[in-house]
């Protein structure tokens, strides 16, 4: 099995995410696109750690070889979950304040 | 013990002074503190001989190889003495001046004194830098809180200037630190730092600019007249009497011995800058109508002469510089006392509005004229001894091919100094009594006391300077020989 498929898939996901962030104004959609990008990275991490890990120097380590990348992914998922809760809370607050989730209204830092 | 005391006394009394709310008592407190400091300094100078009293070392920041290490040698002695003499004089002379929030004012003054003491005795680069900044911060607050109408703008300029200088110095010191044997901030380690001649070149400019801003040397001087003009006079006295000496001290202690090759090589350039600055400042001083600005520019010219002498690397001249550091401090404080009193009484510092004061205040006239004559280095005043030695040093210098030119051009400033100083006297004291002067009285006991001490010092050093010259005998020989005897330079000289 070639890794190229995975790479192409995750690049495609990532690009969709970027384009979404750049073009959309709805905060929730931007948020989802960010998640999409995160998951593209996750996919890549899992793929690489499964297929391109080093041969372990000692035999007893063979069982855990190639798992470090996957552990990263778990971390990312946990952090992403926390981030979603904070991010959604922010969006809710934003909606309460300006009755909109359009990010273009939020340019007050400029002044 | 002595150097630690010299720092601690003003530091602690200064901190206490913040909490003394009564104006009279805080004045007395500050004066008492400064007199004790003076006593300690005098004891260190005369009674004690054992070297263990003059050096001290405590652990400070072990991981950086920096220690709280202080020592008093001849150069430190004379500057500490100046610092210790200056503050009682300042406090006595401005006894009658009223300050808002006097407790903060005097506390900051004492802290500034502590900082400057620290600069003069530090034997560790990090400690030196620490005190350098410590002296600067109270000065900043003193100018910005108690200064004249343009104080905010001017203090900002002052701060930016000195801060830029400090940062350049910090970079330079750190770079040298990384090239010392065994990575230490100790001064001996700095003297033995392994630096190529290229590195010395650019380090030299980093440090020189830092010190030149403080002294100040043309063209880094424009903070000075503004700051002197706008600061309360007591602060101006401390700034011009003592703090500018930090720059000269920096050259002598942290530049010449640390970067000898570069000092040798760039001597002509710096001397040229200083000489140009001298003439420049003298010509501008002639044009001034404000007493404070006039004295400020005259100070630039005098300090410039010290700079030229330092880079002429001559033992005789070096002694002249060191005694002149003291003389200039004393004399300029005397001039400021006169200026302060005039401003307080007459409500103006403009020469064009003054005149005929000698008829109203003969005592002030006598003192002021003597001090002004010392300012133009008349024989039998202290400045003559200093300037004579300095000029001898410049003329006999082996470090430059242009010694004759430097002597002549610097000598022209003696003439110009006579022009502006005599004009100053003429416009303030002689002629007919002007409207501003008509209600003036004569100086009171406190000013008489301060000015009297200054005049006695002026005449004493002018006639018999030996006790003062002996203090700095060894250190000046060390500094000059340390450079002249470098193998590279010695080889060049014999060729």
């Amino acid at each position: 099995m070639f890794i190229d498929y995975y790479i192409i898939l995750s690049v495609a996901l990532f690009c969709i995410g970027i384009v979404g962030v750049l073009t959309r104004r709805n905060a929730i959609i931007i948020f989802m696109c960010v998640e999409l990008m995160l998951n593209a990275v996750n996919l890549l991490l899992v793929a690489f750690s499964k297929m391109h890990h080093l041969t372990p120097p000692k035999k007893e380590l063979a069982a855990v070889a190639g798992t470090d990348g996957q552990i990263f992914v778990f971390f990312i998922m946990v952090v992403a979950a926390a981030e979603v809760s904070v991010g959604l809370a922010i969006i809710v607050m934003m909606y309460r304040n300006i009755h909109s989730v359009d990010v273009n209204f939020l340019n007050r830092l400029k002044h | 013990m002595i150097p630690v005391l010299l720092i601690l006394i003003p530091l602690l009394t200064g901190l206490v002074a913040f909490f003394v709310k009564n104006e009279k008592s805080v004045k007395g407190w500050a004066l008492a503190s400064s007199v004790i400091t003076l006593a300690v300094s005098l004891i260190g100078l005369t009674v004690l001989k054992d070297p263990e009293y003059f050096a001290q070392r405590y652990e400070w920041m072990g991981s950086l190889n920096s220690s709280f290490s202080v020592k008093l040698d001849g150069l430190s002695q004379i500057l500490c003495l100046l610092n210790a003499v200056a503050f009682p004089l300042i406090f006595i002379a401005t006894w009658k001046t009223v300050y808002a929030k006097a407790n903060n004012f005097f506390a900051l003054m004492l802290l500034m004194q502590a900082g400057m003491m620290g600069v003069f005795v530090a034997a560790d680069a990090l400690l030196f830098y620490f005190f350098w900044e410590l002296a600067l911060i109270p000065a900043y607050f003193l100018c910005s809180q108690w200064g004249g109408p343009r104080r905010i703008q001017v203090t900002f300029k002052f701060f930016i200037y000195t801060f830029v200088g400090s940062l350049l110095m910090l970079v330079g010191l750190l770079y040298i630190y990384f090239h010392t044997p065994g990575r230490s901030f100790d001064i001996t380690a700095f003297y033995n730092a392994a630096l190529t001649s290229k590195e010395q070149d650019w380090l030299f400019w980093l440090l020189f600019i830092a010190f030149a801003i403080k002294m100040p040397i043309f063209p880094f001087h424009t903070w000075q007249p503004d700051t002197y003009e706008q600061s309360p006079t007591a602060v101006t006295m401390a700034l011009s009497g003592v703090m500018v000496k930090m720059g000269v001290f920096g050259l002598l202690r942290w530049l010449l011995p640390v970067l000898p090759l570069a000092s040798w090589r760039w001597g002509d350039t710096t001397s040229t800058l200083a000489v140009v600055g001298m003439i420049y400042a003298s010509l501008i001083a002639i044009q001034q109508d404000d007493i404070k600005r006039l004295v400020a520019y005259s100070s630039i010219a005098h300090i410039g002469l010290m700079c030229v002498t330092i880079f002429s690397l001559n033992n005789i001249g070096m002694q002249g510089v060191m005694i002149q550091l003291f003389n200039h401090g004393i004399n300029i404080i005397g001039l400021w006392i006169g200026a302060e009193w005039i401003e307080r009484q007459m409500g103006t510092r403009k020469l064009s509005e003054l005149g005929g004061l000698a008829q109203k205040a003969p005592a002030l006239a006598i003192f002021f004229v003597v001090i002004a004559l010392a300012n133009i280095a008349l024989p039998l005043t202290n400045a003559f001894v200093g300037e004579f030695l300095m000029f001898t040093g410049i003329f006999s210098s082996i470090a430059t091919h242009y010694s004759l030119w430097f002597t002549v051009l610097a000598g022209v400033c003696i003439i110009l100094a006579a022009v502006y100083t005599l004009n100053l006297i003429r416009k303030i004291f002689y002629g007919n009594v002007s409207a501003a002067v008509s209600a003036a009285g004569d100086i009171r006991l406190s000013e008489k006391l301060a000015l009297g001490v200054i005049v006695i010092l002026i005449v004493w050093i002018g006639i018999y300077s030996q006790p003062f010259l002996r203090i700095t005998e060894d250190i000046s020989a060390d500094i000059t020989n340390g450079i002249i005897n470098r193998p590279e330079i010695a080889r060049y000289l014999t060729r």
Partner: protein, 643 residues
């Protein structure tokens, strides 16, 4: 055993004590006390000086060292006095003439308030102290202390009446002009130190003639040192180009003009050159410069004196001119003649100034000679003594000025007859303007106001007695230097001073630059000059007794009256440009260039940040876009740069 002359420190100490007492007690002491103290200390010095002189006459010369003035590194300058023939002679002149002038001042200044009276005497004492330091100093630095000290006192006394701004400006001018000269002196000292390592006279002269501690002056060294010293002398002794301060210095009280600006201080330059005679003898070039300057000054000042109408200004220019004569003598190697003329000049010029003071006193402060006239009837003593002074300065045979001037002219003839002719011309001018002055002031009829005429009186005896003593000295003072050709062995002064100039004369002789004139020629020259001078005197006497010069001058006379416009010239080429430069530096360079640069840095940072702020649009999308683009740039850069 210690030399008895070690005690010479007492001589300057007395005036110093007088200065301190009078200065500090000027409000407490009474006028008579101040006068007694002020004059008494000078008398004490005078008595000491006579004793010293007698010691020296017996061949006892001494260098008395007291303490280290400056001792730094290899440089050691001791506070030491040199007592020899030259300095003891000057001591006598300074304290002797000084004492007479102090006594005179007591009467002249009696109208001043007590505290100003005290101030006056303290300054005068301080002056004598400085002048004594100057001549006693055993090295160039101690000499320089006195040198600047007398300049200071001159400054203080010119501006004594400090309410008048004009006087203060004259005082400043005197000090600054002197400072210009002093710079030359100072650089000469530095030069000496750097080449010889010592400033003691014997050491320096040893370094010039042979070896001193293995150090030796090159010819260039000697030329430069002597030239620089001479610059100092031109300042102090009012020679071209630094002479313009002296006439302005007449703003001071008249006794001050007599003491400082005629008899003593202005001769400091001559003393200094005479002291360094061996250095000058060794530099032919500088000798030439000295006599050229001296001669030019003598002529220039004499021409200006022809048309001055202020009694003191005439005397001032005459002083400048006589000083020129002295330098002419020095430049031609006639050192003794110069010192001789210093002495006789001190007598008759002090006399003339004090006489003019007496006149001014009687006229109620009037100094314009056009408003005087006929004073000889009312002021017999002043008139008689003034006449004797005029005869002496003109060089009428038998009077003191005759002998000293003759010695100078003989020296000039020895060098070249042309110099002699020009110098004789200057001497004739001297005779002319002095008798113009005398005739205008004392002969004819009175031309002042009625009030002044009523007020006219002879001065009190405290003023006339010094006049009489000085008049006697002006007559007989020259008899100690009667030239060899008139009476063999009568030139006592020459004999006395011989040791000081011995090595110099030896050197000049070895180079064939010492010219002896035979006695017949000398008789002829003396006869010629005396005859001409007498003719001029008679002519001037007649011309101005009958019809004094009262009308406005025109043409050349006007140029002379305005002093050849030299002051204006200096103002245009030096003072104004410097002021302009200072103004430009102050208002343009300082404010715009340097501060502009500094503020410019601040402004540039400000501007830059304002531009950068535009990036902060507040649009999240913009930020993200920027982020992505930057990442792309980083990738691309890395991709290309790795290759």
């Amino acid at each position: 055993m210690q030399n008895s002359l070690q005690i010479a420190w007492l001589i300057p100490l007395f005036p110093l004590i007088g200065f301190l007492i009078n200065g500090l007690g000027r409000k407490q002491l009474s006028k008579s006390m101040i006068g007694v103290i002020g004059s008494g200390v000078i008398l004490a010095s005078f008595v000491m000086s006579i004793w010293v002189f007698l010691q020296v006459k017996d061949g006892n010369t001494h260098v008395a060292t007291y303490f280290d003035f400056i001792n730094a590194g290899k440089l050691k300058i001791s506070f030491a006095f040199q007592i020899d023939q030259l300095s003891s002679l000057f001591l006598l002149i300074i304290t002797g003439v000084g004492f007479l002038i102090h006594v005179y001042s007591v009467a002249y200044m009696h109208e001043e308030k007590t505290e100003h009276f005290g101030r006056y005497f303290s300054y005068l004492n301080l002056f004598v102290f400085s002048m004594l330091l100057l001549v006693l100093g055993a090295n160039y630095v101690i000499m320089f202390i006195g040198w600047e000290g007398v300049g200071l006192c001159s400054y203080l006394l010119i501006g004594f009446w400090f309410k008048k701004d004009e006087y203060n400006k004259a005082a400043n001018k005197a000090f600054i002009m002197n400072r210009i000269g002093d710079l030359g002196f100072l650089i000469a000292i530095f030069w000496i130190i750097s080449k010889a390592g010592s400033v003691n006279f014997p050491d320096v002269f040893a370094a010039a003639t042979g070896k001193f501690n293995g150090k030796e002056f090159t010819t260039t060294d000697i030329t430069c040192i002597t030239l620089l010293l001479f610059v100092g002398a031109t300042g102090k002794s009012a020679q071209i180009p630094l002479y313009t301060w002296l006439p302005d210095a007449m703003a001071g009280p008249t006794p001050v003009s007599a003491l400082i600006h005629a008899a003593t201080m202005v001769t400091a330059g001559i003393y200094m050159v005479a002291r360094s005679n061996i250095l000058y003898s060794m530099s032919h070039l500088v000798m030439n410069v000295v006599w050229v300057i001296g001669l030019a000054t003598a002529i220039l000042a004499a021409t200006i004196a022809l048309k001055q109408n202020d009694i003191k200004k005439v005397l001032a220019y005459s002083t400048v001119s006589q000083l020129g004569f002295m330098f002419l003598a020095l430049g031609t190697g006639a050192y003794v003649a110069a010192v001789f003329h210093v002495m006789t000049h001190a007598f008759f010029k002090a006399l003339l100034f004090l006489g003019s003071g007496s006149v001014i006193h009687a006229m109620g402060g009037e100094q314009d000679i056009r408003k005087m006239g006929g004073l000889n009837k009312r002021m017999k003593i002043t008139s008689m003594t003034f006449l004797l002074g005029c005869l002496a300065i003109a060089g009428i045979p038998g009077f003191s000025g005759f002998f000293s001037k003759d010695a100078i002219l003989a020296g000039a003839f020895g060098r070249s007859p042309v110099i002699y002719a020009i110098a004789l011309g200057a001497a004739l001018l001297t005779a002319f303007y002095m008798f113009r002055l005398y005739a205008t002031v004392f002969r004819g009829t009175f031309r002042g106001t009625h009030d002044q005429e009523h007020h006219l009186h002879e001065s009190p005896s405290a003023m006339t007695v010094p006049l009489i003593i000085l008049a006697i000295l002006s007559v007989v003072g020259g008899w100690i230097g009667i030239p060899e050709f008139m009476a063999s062995g009568a030139n006592k002064l020459n004999e006395f001073l011989a040791p000081v100039f011995a090595s110099s004369n030896q050197f000049l002789e070895s180079r064939g630059r010492l010219h002896e004139i035979d006695h017949n020629t000398e008789w002829m020259l003396t006869g010629l000059s005396s005859l001409l001078i007498i003719l001029v005197v008679v002519f001037a006497w007649n011309k101005f007794s009958r019809k004094p010069e009262l009308a406005e001058t025109k043409g050349l006379g006007r140029v002379l009256e305005n002093k050849w416009y030299v002051d204006e010239l200096y103002d245009t080429i030096i003072v104004k440009p410097l002021n302009w430069l200072g103004g430009v530096l102050n208002s343009v360079v300082e404010k715009d260039v340097i501060d502009g640069l500094v503020n410019g840095v601040g402004r540039a940072v400000n501007y830059g940040s304002r531009q950068l702020r535009l990036l902060q649009s507040g649009q999240v999308a913009n930020y993200v876009l920027l982020m992505v683009l930057s990442m792309l740039v980083v990738f691309v850069l890395q991709f290309f740069l790795r290759k």
